[in-house]
Structure formats: structure tokens, C-alpha cells
């Protein structure tokens, strides 16, 4: 059996060889994927229409031409499908297996290479059955010996010696070059593997199936089921879920953790379903999973963040090479709309909290006002300045590694200072704005993130100030006299207990102020992200940083 397609030069190259095999008296089936006319009238009787790709899929064809030698026996196309549970779609990192260098390969033993991932040794389980009629059956040729059998070897691409060995024809392809790489099988077209797995294989997806009737808009069904955050979601079809799961090597059934408030187990698969709905691309999934795991750290207190009357939700800050690789925005409008990765990673985490954890507003999410960040709040840090220590590194992650930091935060409070030109005066100015976090008269109450814009940072950088020096200076500026902030002081009832009148009170705990660099090149504006007051005691809630396993 040989699998070919018209859109492959090497398949055209081997046409004379196919004639040689056919004329040798050996049984031959030519399985074509796109247009069998190129085979010509001489080979037409041997042609097998596989435009539906069922046979190619079941054979695990990744490259054409692929020559397979069969011995009489079981139909190889009835072997277990390539994508059975536990053998999902390949990881993007495996794409190199389709490169031209890898496209010519022979396996005379039962195949073990990625290009022939499906074991064609006698199958140990019955073939999966489908209710769909196979369009290949109607046009299948009468070469019974080629239709059924046990694979005993295959040649991928055109390698003359291998084809000779498989066919036993000593002078096969004498006039052809000794070697020519094949082309990608149509089963390898983008999204095709997932579609074929759903159609002919086993997806392995365990989540409950929900059918949207033909007259039902799936987007509306998601609304009706209460699966959305108020914005439309991408319907989580099995094809999309499989594609999403291709973004990680982790077992789909591995439990990421228990999602509060219901403490319901969340598998990689459930996270992937919600990531689909959020609009993520598969390569974002490792970031989503790391953010979830960070948020599930007991130190973050996701239950409290979700159920609180306060405004907060998880703010996700991404560091390291993955931020650039997946195209995250750390520049212009970094805290705003417009970037798919920024927008959907944060949304996926919030959808998991809603759908798996049951954290729904108006129910157990008791936020008095909430904030837009509860839809999504995720951005990357600007690491373009080698003098700046990235947030993740300052929190213990090795340089060059990708990481997420989750912070229980609210919306964006802009800070304008267009006059400060020296680091000291800029620090005093920023500290003045930071005093408003929670309330100007509350100290050690809520943490904060200060997002320093490039133009503000330039003032520090030109003076040689590092992250540590900026933080130290801000903390010094943020110590106030208890007299000024106790209850009733300045005619305001809110404030610190009277018992602290004689103390010098820091605004933040030492770890209660995170500095992050982000923003566009122009604008003497920075931003404050106020934190959840549950973080007034570090042991109750604090930011969590976690390396991304990608």
C-alpha cells in the first residue's frame, strides 16, 4: 500500500515506480488524499479514494508518499486510532518531526518513530466504531490482500533502497534519484488531526457532552448554561479542546487543584475547556496552568479573593521568554485591551473560578462593586532594559526562566507626574499617590503594585537606581506618623487605631509593594494597582510567583 497526494512532487516522482510495482504482480493499493486523477488510467484500478482521510488517519500517515508493506492478516486501518486516550495530538514542540529532514524515513521493524506513532503490530483492542459511513468503502478497490494485513514495514518519502527492500524488487526506480523527501500528509494540515480524531477516533475527553441542536446558536447555549462572564465565549467543541490540550505535555486528567469556593477538582482538561472559551491559543495554556497553580497556593487565598466584598481579582504578571514567544504586550496599552494573550489568559483563569469553582457574582462572589479586572487582568513585564531586575527574578526565579506572579488586585489608578526630573522628587510624588491605596489613613492595610512607565523609569535609570533602591526609597517615603492617621485625625473617622498614635507607621509591609515595568514609550504616567485588604497580613494573603513549566 502506498499513500499519496496530487499536491506532492515526490508523489509525482514515484509514479513510474508505482507502475513498476503494479506490473510486478504484487498487490498494490494506492491510497490518494486529494485528487486521484494524477495517477492516470493505468493506476486507476488500484486507486483508493481517501479524501475523507479516515484510512490515512488510522494508518498514522504523516508524510506522503508512505509505502507500507502488509502481510495477510488484520486490516491495519482497523487498528486503534492514533489519538486514543493518553496519546493525544502532538505537542507543538514535536512539529519538527514533519520537517523535510524527517520526512524520509524507513521503519522495517514495527514502527516506533514519531512519524509512525501508531503501532501497526497486531492490535490488542478492537477497532473503534463509528456510526459514520466511511466514504472510502464505496470506491475501495478489490485488492483484498492490500486491504487487510499486518504491517511489516514502511518507507516514508522516497528512499530507493528502502522501497527496494520493502517490495523485494531489486531494480526498482532505477532512473530516479536515490532519495527525495516526502511532503506533509493532509492529515497534518492545521486542525485536521483534531477533526479526524473527533470523527474517527477517541478524543479521550471526559467532560460531559452537551449537544447544541442545529437550530441553536452554541454561543447562546453557553449563555443559557451560565458558562460566561457576560461576554460571548468560544464554544468548547471537542476539536478546539484537543487543539488546546496540544499546548501542554501534561496528562489531560491530571488534577491542577481544588478550585474554591466549591473546592471542585480542576483537571488540565477542564482548564483547557475554559481556556478555549476564553479565546486562548494552545501556546497560552502553560501560562494559564501556572497562573491557576499560583492562585491555588494557600498563601494566595483564592477563596477569600473570590468571595470578598472587595473589588479584587487575580492580576497575572508574566515574565520570561514565554511572554515574548506568545506575543504578550508589555508596552503600549499593556494594561488595556487589544492583545489576545493578555486578554484571554486572565479571562481563562477567571472562567475556571466561575465555572469549576462556582465563584459567580451575586452568589458566593459578594463583591460590593467588583472591578473590570475581574473579567481579565494579565500583562507582561517589560524586560527590555538589562539593568532592570525582572519581577520574577526579584522573587526568586532564575533569570531567563518564564514565570507568573499572581496578585490580588483591583483596577488601575493612574499617577501623573510630568515635572519630576530627579529620582528623589519622583519617589516622593509616587509615594504620595500610593498613600491612597485602600484609604490614605490606612496603613499596613492593602498591598499594591506600582507599574512604572518607561519615561518615569528613565528618571531612575539615568540616576543609576535599581529596583531595590527605588523600593527602599518608596518605603521610606511611605512611613507616616500615627498621629496623622489615627481614627478621627483630620476630621475623618476612618483610620488606624488610636493605640498607634505614637508610632511611625509604614504604608505597606515590606513585601506589600511590588514594582513592575510596563507601558509605552511616551507618557510621564505610572499606575497603581491597589490590592486586596485580605493581604494586610502576609500570612493571610500574598502574591505568589510560580515558574511556568513549558
Amino acid at each position: 500500500m502506498v499513500v499519496v497526494k496530487d499536491e506532492c512532487e515526490t508523489c509525482h516522482l514515484v509514479l513510474p515506480v508505482l507502475h513498476e510495482i503494479a506490473h510486478s504482480g504484487r498487490d498494490l493499493a494506492i491510497v490518494w488524499q486529494d485528487d486521484g486523477a494524477f495517477l492516470g488510467p493505468g493506476l486507476a484500478p488500484l486507486a483508493v479514494d481517501d479524501r475523507a482521510l479516515e484510512r490515512s488517519f488510522r494508518l498514522g500517515i504523516e508524510t506522503v508518499p508512505t509505502l507500507i508493506r502488509m502481510e495477510p492478516g488484520m486490516d491495519p486501518a482497523a487498528a486503534p486510532p492514533p489519538t486514543a486516550p493518553g496519546d493525544r495530538a502532538p505537542h507543538p514542540a514535536d512539529e519538527r518531526e514533519n520537517s523535510p529532514d524527517a520526512a524520509s524515513r524507513t521503519s522495517l521493524a514495527p514502527p516506533t518513530s514519531p512519524a509512525s506513532r501508531t503501532s501497526l503490530a497486531p492490535p490488542t483492542s478492537p477497532a473503534p466504531r463509528t456510526n459514520r459511513a466511511s466514504p472510502t468503502n464505496a470506491t475501495f478497490p478489490t485488492h483484498q490482500a492490500s486491504r487487510t494485513g499486518t504491517e511489516t514495514g514502511r518507507a516514508i518519502g522516497w528512499i530507493r533502497d528502502d522501497w527496494r527492500a520493502l517490495t523485494g524488487i531489486a531494480d526498482l526506480g532505477e532512473g530516479l534519484p536515490p532519495h527525495r523527501p516526502g511532503c506533509g500528509s493532509r492529515t497534518q494540515e492545521p486542525g485536521m488531526r483534531e477533526r479526524l480524531t473527533v470523527r474517527y477516533g477517541e478524543t479521550g475527553i471526559r467532560a460531559r457532552r452537551v449537544e447544541a441542536a442545529p437550530e441553536t446558536d452554541p454561543v447562546e447555549l453557553c449563555y443559557d448554561r451560565g458558562w460566561t462572564d457576560g461576554l460571548p465565549v468560544v464554544p468548547p467543541t471537542p476539536e478546539r479542546i484537543l487543539r488546546m490540550l496540544g499546548g501542554t505535555r501534561r496528562d489531560p486528567h491530571e488534577v491542577v487543584g481544588l478550585i474554591p469556593p466549591k473546592l471542585a477538582p480542576c483537571t488540565i482538561e477542564k482548564a483547557a475547556i475554559n481556556a478555549v472559551m476564553a479565546g486562548c491559543r494552545p501556546e497560552y495554556l502553560p501560562v494559564v496552568l501556572a497562573a491557576l497553580e499560583a492562585a491555588l497556593d494557600p498563601g494566595f487565598t483564592l477563596h477569600g479573593v473570590t468571595c470578598s466584598t472587595c473589588h479584587s481579582g487575580p492580576v497575572i504578571i508574566v515574565n520570561g521568554p514565554i511572554a515574548r514567544r506568545i506575543g504578550m504586550n508589555a508596552g503600549l496599552n499593556a494594561l488595556g485591551q487589544g492583545n489576545r494573550a493578555n486578554a484571554t489568559i486572565g479571562r481563562a483563569v477567571n472562567l475556571v473560578v466561575r465555572n469549576v469553582g462556582g465563584g459567580r457574582p451575586g452568589e458566593i462572589d459578594r463583591a460590593t462593586l467588583g472591578s473590570p479586572g475581574k473579567y481579565t487582568f494579565c500583562f507582561a513585564e517589560d524586560e527590555s532594559d538589562p539593568h532592570w531586575e525582572p519581577l520574577s527574578v526579584s522573587r526568586g526565579v532564575a533569570p531567563g526562566r518564564s514565570a507568573v506572579t499572581v496578585f490580588a488586585g483591583e483596577g488601575v489608578q493612574g499617577v501623573s507626574d510630568q515635572r519630576a526630573r530627579r529620582p528623589g522628587e519622583l519617589t516622593r510624588s509616587l509615594a504620595m499617590a500610593l498613600r491612597a491605596v485602600g484609604h490614605p489613613k490606612l496603613c499596613e492595610w492593602a498591598p499594591a503594585v506600582l507599574v512604572i512607565s518607561p519615561e518615569h523609569y528613565a528618571t531612575y535609570r539615568e540616576a543609576g537606581w535599581t529596583r531595590r533602591r527605588i523600593a527602599d526609597a518608596l518605603h521610606r517615603e511611605l512611613v507616616v506618623s500615627g498621629e496623622e492617621v489615627i481614627v478621627g485625625a483630620r476630621g475623618v473617622a476612618e483610620g488606624m487605631p488610636r493605640s498607634r498614635r505614637g508610632e511611625r507607621l509604614p504604608k505597606f509591609h515590606r513585601e506589600g509593594l511590588l514594582l513592575v515595568r510596563a507601558g509605552g514609550p511616551a507618557g510621564l504616567f505610572s499606575a497603581i494597582l491597589s490590592g486586596w485588604p485580605g493581604g494586610r497580613l502576609l500570612e493571610e494573603s500574598h502574591p505568589v510567583t510560580r515558574e511556568i513549566a513549558d
Partner: protein
Amino acid sequence: MNASPTLLHDPTSETASALRPRRSPPPSLDGRTVALFDIGKARADEFLDYLQPRLRARGIATARFAKPTNAKPATPAIVGDIAEGADVVVEALAD
């Protein structure tokens, strides 16, 4: 619209909370113990301090319970202590 059904997969935990009917309040607090539960919100102690002597003055036994922080849920141990040690709970929920 689609010509055939669209298959989706459920993004939820596929569980439902058990709904239990609310217990009726006792007709009288005589002979009962009232748990005064401070969940850690600001000024909860003030409210419970106000309530406790007034209950005692009516001859009603009280017992104080507290979570260490409002940021985290009550532990099963605290819930168990309240269930064992009291008949009625007054919970100081909000600021």
C-alpha cells in the same frame, strides 16, 4: 445555523450543591447556648461584646468562637466546635 448538532463539553465541575432546607429557629432560647461567632471582620468584636451581656442578662448561655481571619474559610474544626457547643449561632459577618 448549523445543519447538524454542535457537540460541546461542559466547562463546569459537573457537580451541584446539595440544597438543604433551612432549620426553623427554636421557639425559645431558654436552655439553649448561643454561639457568638467572630469571623474576623473589622468591629465584629464590638458587636458581639454588645450582644453577649444582653443575652446573659436574660439567662441565656453564650459561647464565643472566632476565626483567626476573615480572609479564609472557617476550618472544619471550628465548625465542628460550634455544632457541638451551641444550639444557635449569631455570626458577625460584616464590618
